[in-house]
């Protein structure tokens, strides 16, 4: 559209432009219009998702240990002993699909800043990733290789360990890979309270510190709020370039600055750049500000006000500093040789005024930019679903052993060691349960006897068939991961990855996933302390949306070193027990997709009461020190879980399933169903009776499947069609070699 100062192509709708003109009682300047365009993009304003996100209960109001909930840069919880944890998860899907290395790297950069600006030190990263299948697919291999390298190079350099993650391969992610990034920060409760992301006081100095402002990444957020087309390659300049060394310096300089007590507000510059940061600082703080735009240090000469205000150049932070502390803070920035500039001061005008020399280029009420409109989107259940759900499982075409060997080698089940070997997961000397030895990453909190456990994930195949139950199932699984390591789930954040919200079917998936998560969290008393929504993950060329991916991150706390539980089986002669029933739930299973290339069937359902009872039961056994190893049952079914538990200590198992199949499921359904919320535990025979009495008391189904043996094989009796004999060494070899064979060529 034509405005004062030139012509601008905007994504704003006509009613939105009219509202802006009416509110300002004039035409906006080109810079102002650009700021509205960015701030009211789906990515920044959550205009489609906000009505649904209201379904989550108010975490700050309902949970006394929640210090900051949704709406902040990161959720913050009080974990006792004076410490606070901040964490957040975010998507960087669109940039990574175009430029995987820098897209993923700057995703890490952004999430680190979000956590840092809560005033705490970032201590862990986790990365849930989704790609097209790797086999015979050089494009997916290229994306996978460089996304992992981007995360590794950036995360390793900043000295923040990557302690966990998840990888799913599915052809729906071929055109739109999903790169979600999560970060956890640790500090004292006081650190967090000192530096909110607000400018509450007039007369404070506003300092910009870190990288210079360049022309890269202009309008990155509006790019993220569109679908990818074959023209998207031309958007490559909208992907920012990361600099992990500068980020490391920013972390150290910021933490040293906060410790002085002179920093009164702190905000990272991410999507929407300086416009977004200033409007949130002053708008939410109830103040105004006067900014001298030419004080902002730029990477190249000749940048106009529009470019400077909207640049999304990486590695920049805005500080609100008490007047008496200005010199001290500048001295710290000089020590770290970080570029910085005092760009203005806050005032009580409630107006954001930005000057380009003498010329006033932006003159907006500071809350105007954050008062974005809401759009009520239409929801419609996809018609194809009924047909998909009624798909039947074919009769097994090969013997069960062959199927199991195929499953363990499948891309979604096999070892992800190729990924985590490239991540420094030990730096910080906190990593107690390391990648590959537990369902979650466990870090000690030095100075206490507490440990944090965190895991991320979802099951997009289940969500595709039933987003309400699938999103709940994702929660059951990710909570199950931290519980298996001995942690109580304390809080959740989520990253909702969906297609185009303007398409009713895509929006239906989003709305029902949110409903599922909200209902489950209310029932199980897990506060939702933050989230991020990534829409438009849709490939316009092939007219395909991704499978819905409401990715969940759980942070849990283990109260004492003796309460940490790990995955590997420990002692020959111990019992192998299963907690929870196996239902006829093969819909969206790996068995269906690996063996028959079908996506349908009945997906798993979640019964919150049963889940709660199982969790309470497990913690009772933990209290009695009766569990020696624990692993939740996930993709591929429970035999896969048992095999994974055998690998590390080269043990085997003698199993008899005669006793477990109460509902007479066909053998393949019993073995490969992905019913959620089951656990495999190792216990001692002497405790068996007590465990069964407790199981009855807690109304939990617990069955003994067999015992651990000193031979690397799994023998299964009690099936209708055949006995099974599996070679653990062969399984381990298949498990380990799939990804290296595809990638290291």
């Amino acid at each position: 559209m034509k405005v004062n100062g030139g012509e601008l192509k905007v994504d704003l709708t006509e009613p939105e432009v009219k509202w802006i003109k009416d509110t300002l009682e004039r035409d906006p300047s080109i810079t102002e219009l650009g700021m509205f365009d960015v701030m009211w993009s789906e990515h920044c304003s959550y205009k489609s998702s906000r009505p649904k996100l209201k379904l989550f209960e108010d975490a700050e109001k309902n949970y006394d240990y929640v210090l900051a909930g949704p709406g902040e840069d990161a959720g913050v919880i009080d974990i006792g002993n004076g410490y606070a944890l901040a964490f957040r998860i975010e998507s960087h899907n669109h940039p990574s699909a175009i430029e995987p290395y820098h897209g993923a790297a700057t995703g890490i950069g952004g999430i680190i800043r979000d956590v840092l600006c809560m005033g705490v030190r970032p201590i862990a990263l986790l990365d849930p990733l989704r790609f097209g299948t790797l086999k015979n697919n050089p494009h997916s291999q290229w994306l996978f290789k460089y996304v992992v390298k981007g995360i590794a190079d950036y995360g390793n350099c900043t000295g923040i360990p990557t302690i966990g993650g998840e990888v799913e391969f599915d052809k729906s992610f071929e055109g739109n890979c999903l790169v979600n990034v999560a970060c956890i920060g640790l500090g004292t409760v006081d650190d967090f309270r000192h530096a909110p992301s607000r400018a509450y006081n007039p007369e404070d100095y506003i300092i910009l510190m870190g990288g210079s402002t360049g022309r890269d990444g202009i309008h990155g957020v509006t790019f993220a709020s569109r679908t990818l087309t074959d023209m998207s390659e031309a958007d490559r300049p909208a992907v920012q370039i990361g600099d992990p060394f500068t980020k490391k310096m920013i972390i150290e300089a910021t933490i040293e600055a906060i410790k002085t007590g002179y920093v009164r507000g702190l905000k990272d510059l991410g999507g929407g750049g300086i416009s977004c940061a200033l409007s949130e600082l002053t708008g939410d703080g109830g103040t105004g500000a006067k900014i001298e735009m030419r004080k902002i240090f730029t990477r190249e000469p000749g940048m106009n006000s529009y470019e400077i205000m909207l640049s999304e150049s990486q590695e920049r932070m805005a500080f609100i500093v008490k007047p008496e502390g200005l010199e001290k803070i500048l001295e710290i920035f000089r020590k770290f040789e970080m570029a910085h500039a005092v760009i203005g001061r806050t005032d009580d005008s409630k107006v954001l005024k930005i000057y380009d020399g003498d010329k006033l280029v932006v003159n907006l009420p500071s809350i105007a930019l954050s008062e974005s409109p809401i759009i009520d989107r239409e929801e419609k259940r996809p018609e194809i679903l009924d047909g998909l759900i009624s798909q039947k499982t074919p009769e097994p075409s090969s013997n069960l052993e062959e199927i199991i060997y195929k499953l363990i080698a499948s891309e979604n089940i096999c070892s992800k060691e190729w990924v985590y070997r490239q991540y420094d997961h030990e730096v910080g000397v906190r990593s107690v349960v390391k990648c590959g030895t537990g369902d979650s990453g466990v870090l000690r909190i030095i100075g206490t006897n507490k440990f944090l456990a965190s895991s991320v994930g979802t099951n997009s195949k289940h969500c595709f068939l039933n987003p309400y139950e699938g999103a709940k199932g994702g929660l059951v699984e990710v909570c199950g991961n931290v519980i298996a390591n001995g942690a109580r789930p304390k809080a959740m954040v989520n990253c909702c990855n969906f297609g185009n919200p303007e398409i009713p079917e895509s929006f239906w998936y989003f709305a029902n996933s949110v409903r599922g998560m909200a209902d489950f969290c209310k029932e199980l008393r897990i506060p939702v302390v933050g989230g991020n929504v990534s829409f438009y993950n849709e490939d316009e060329v092939n007219k395909t949306a991704i499978k819905p991916a409401p990715v969940i991150m759980i942070v849990g706390i283990i109260e004492g070193v003796e309460k940490i539980i790990t995955l590997p089986f420990k002692n020959v002669g111990d019992d192998i027990l299963i907690i929870g029933e196996t239902e006829n739930e093969l819909g969206g299973s790996e068995y269906h997709s690996v063996m028959y290339d079908i996506e349908g069937g009945l997906p798993p359902k979640v019964d919150e009461k049963k889940i709660k009872a199982r969790w309470d039961f497990i913690f009772k056994l933990y209290e009695k020190k009766m569990i020696k190893a624990n692993h939740d049952v996930n993709k591929g079914g429970f035999l896969i879980s048992i095999a994974e538990m055998c690998f590390k200590n080269k043990l085997g198992a003698d199993l008899d399933l005669n006793n477990y199949n109460d509902t007479n499921l066909r053998d393949d359904k019993l073995l490969f169903s992905e019913s959620v919320g089951r656990f495999i535990i190792e216990t001692e025979p002497k405790d068996f009776e007590v465990i069964m009495i407790l199981a009855e008391k807690f109304k939990v189904t617990v069955k003994k499947l067999g015992v651990l043996i000193n031979k690397p094989e799994i023998n299964v009796k009690g099936l209708a069609s055949q006995d099974i004999k599996l070679n653990i060494e062969k399984m381990k070899d298949l498990y380990d070699s799939t990804i290296p064979n595809l990638m290291d060529i």
């Binding site: 060394f245 500068t246 770290f336 070997r421 000397v429």
Partner: protein
């Protein structure tokens, strides 16, 4: 006497606080974290160059830090026999500054590698290894992208007993599998001719507490215990 150790903080170091934690809380020695251009050798009995990505490892790992004034100070310590320990990036800095012979090249896998491995003690007559025995196998993690040791005077290094550690399997055998980066002769750590400067790729500070080790070992602590006792004996 009070022993004073410095951990030099180069911009981009990221194992500096880990080394501080071990020295202060595990070994119990007063240790100072010193910004690289504030470092003055006269105040310290020994110095540690920690791991990380000094100056972002831009240009080449360790080369920019090798030109920091901190290395001029350290050179004085090198000459008068005070112990200097370079871990990972610290090792890379020490080779770039020519305190130690050889160079560290990109891993043969072309990928960063983070894992627990084993190293075998080849020379226990150094300030950092005298509490170990030759042939001991230590469990310790590595985390690096450029750790493939290369030297063009290997024979000389062997004759002068400058090879202090080699990657080995659990039983002390030098196998290709045990070598995480393709280094020459499985070399993991090297000392200078005089013996008071050691550089190694593995991270002793990550292997000094049982809770962090897969098998509950504390082999990394031996490095710091040896270094402290050496300083005590020396004074």
């Amino acid at each position: 006497m009070t022993i004073k150790i410095a951990v030099v903080q180069f911009p981009g170091a990221n194992c500096d606080l880990d080394a501080m934690h071990v020295l202060n809380n595990v070994i119990g020695i007063e240790t100072s974290l010193v910004w690289h251009n504030h470092f003055k050798e006269a105040e310290f009995d020994g110095v540690i160059l920690p791991g990380g990505f000094s100056f972002g490892d831009y240009l080449r790992a360790g080369i920019i830090a090798a030109h920091s004034p901190a290395l001029d100070e350290a050179r004085i310590m090198l000459k008068d026999g005070r112990p200097i320990l370079g871990i990972c990036n610290g090792f890379q800095i020490l080779t770039e500054a020519e305190f130690l012979p050889g160079a560290l090249l990109q891993n043969d896998s072309l990928k960063f590698v983070c894992k627990w491995i084993n190293i075998r003690v080849e020379n226990n007559k150094t300030p950092f290894t005298h509490k170990m025995k030759n042939g001991d196998v230590l469990a310790i993690p590595v985390a690096h992208g450029e750790g493939r040791y290369f030297a063009d005077n290997l024979k000389e290094l062997e004759e002068n007993e400058q090879i202090v550690f080699k990657y080995s399997d659990e039983n002390g055998k030098y196998t290709q599998n045990a070598n995480p980066n393709g280094s020459m002769e499985n070399i993991a750590g090297i000392r200078n001719l005089e013996g008071n400067c050691l550089g190694l790729m593995p991270h002793p500070e990550r292997a000094s507490e049982a809770i962090l080790a897969p098998k509950g070992t504390t082999h990394g602590k031996l490095f710091f215990d040896s270094m402290i006792e050496f300083i005590k004996r020396r004074s």
